[in-house]
Subunit: 292 residues, 2 copies
């Protein structure tokens, strides 16, 4: 069943409250800032097993399938398919066996086809590839509903939202409407298959430009580089603020990396055209030439 | 402190979870459907004392001040200043002494001036007089923050939202923007004082037209008639569906009463002009003449 709900960050608490059932443990993969936020909230309700983490490698890759130290007693396995800030993305769907698989797909949903049937629960904030902020999409296996913890607020109970067709309370109507327009637009791009081709071209071009230069760098292992969020640094960090000023003058906005990691970050979501990515690459090459 | 949060219905659980503190009881006044929803959710966390109810009178008036049977052990007193569906509104602010007063002001906030300092907490969904659905305004006394129950989800903790200037998570940015435009528009109407004069004129005219006729009726006691939501019935209920069809043809929309009470309801929020109310009255008089 698919339904729509308030904020994506609410899901961090909703997931354990709804999916623990009679169990007390949950498995989490740690790949960066958003995994950590999900883990921190889950710890308030469950014994969290961090079954794999690449923190020691500064989150420059996602754990391999053979590194996942899954627990027999876990109610579910949670991971973040794309770390928005770190710019790393799973290149595989973890196999948790009979344990339901839960994924935060906020920043890469609808960027490329995904095998939905592999998941117990998919959640994604709308504000990247769906519509305006203030709306979250949840897709959940129906047999996982109806086992919320007794202290779960009614508005946190997935079953309430599912049973009410996402209208238990007055929904964010305008956000729904805009999301509908985005879905129509996406269909006109050839659907998820069509946009995936464009997204892959955009990402390949930008990473190629970064890799072709000693002036720019991206630290993420090749198979785990995000096709949505491309962080990069300048070899000379002194030039970063100048880069941002000149980029903005060239009409290239919001390139500052998250304050927790610094550097630059190009978020090339579905709405960012291939032409826009080419303009960024051209600017980067020009900036490098004038500074080299 | 004032902050902005997801859905208004979430507040029904947030209020006991945030305000009970060391206490276990809370006082609630029951004036209709929205009071009841607030009470139902509060019962999951607190011993709820319904300190006054006019249900036996079919919610045709609000309880008088001398009917409130307040408890010494209550963490707070909650009431609904305007019952959107029933169309009744408090004509006074209850006095709870030292007990914090909590009010659901969803459907009459900004309709007329209100003494904010009388309240421990005011909450209001945006979708009546503030902006689009999916946004709630909370105004809370700072000394009431920081005592959330241990099981309170982080996103349900008022202190988290207050400390983060309403930006603990990505807020519904477009809804904020639209609310800002509405506030500017409201200022141009002379602010809350200015709109209150218009609102009172709108309501008086509509109730006068209803009272002047035996064809239409409104059951609410005069001092408690809502200036925002005006429910009315037709003496001949057989004519109701015809009324709605012809009203819609005349450009007068959404006049059907809530399915739980039937009849008609004119919601004459700030955005509804005096001219629109006059058009409704004219239509009602015309409809009556052609059917009498």
């Amino acid at each position: 069943v698919l339904f729509l709900q308030g904020g994506a960050t609410s899901q961090f608490g909703m997931i354990p409250m709804n999916l623990l059932g009679q169990k007390t443990q949950a498995d989490y993969i740690n790949t960066g800032i958003w995994s950590k936020k999900a883990i921190a909230e889950a710890k308030r309700y469950a014994q969290v097993n961090v079954v794999a983490s690449t923190e020691a490698e500064n989150f420059t890759r996602v754990p391999r399938a053979d590194e996942l130290n899954l627990s027999a007693e876990a109610a579910y396995l949670h991971y973040t398919s794309n770390e928005t800030i770190g710019g790393l993305e799973f290149d595989y769907i973890p196999d948790a066996g009979q344990t339901p698989l839960v994924v935060d797909m906020s920043s890469d949903i609808l960027s490329q086809p995904v095998e939905v049937s592999r998941f117990g629960l998919i959640y994604a904030g709308a504000q990247k590839n769906i519509g305006p902020a203030g709306l979250t999409v949840v897709i959940v296996r129906e047999d996982l509903l109806g086992q919320a913890l007794p202290t779960t607020p009614t508005m946190y109970d997935y079953k309430v939202h599912a049973d009410a067709d996402s209208m238990h309370n007055t929904p964010p109507t305008f956000a729904w409407y805009l999301a509908g327009l985005v879905f129509k637009w996406l269909k006109a791009q050839g659907g998820v298959e069509g946009i995936a081709e464009i997204n892959l071209r955009k990402a390949r071009k930008l990473y190629a430009a970064i890799d072709a230069s000693d002036f720019y760098a991206n630290p993420i292992a090749l198979p785990n580089r995000s096709i949505m969020n491309v962080p990069f640094t300048l070899a000379d960090t002194q030039l970063e603020s100048r880069f941002l000023v000149e980029a903005e003058a060239a009409g290239l906005l919001n390139l500052q990396g998250h304050r927790s990691v610094g550097g630059m970050r190009a978020s090339i979501y579905n709405a960012v055209s291939e032409t826009a990515v080419e303009a960024l690459i051209e600017f980067m090459q020009h900036f490098e030439k004038t500074r080299a």
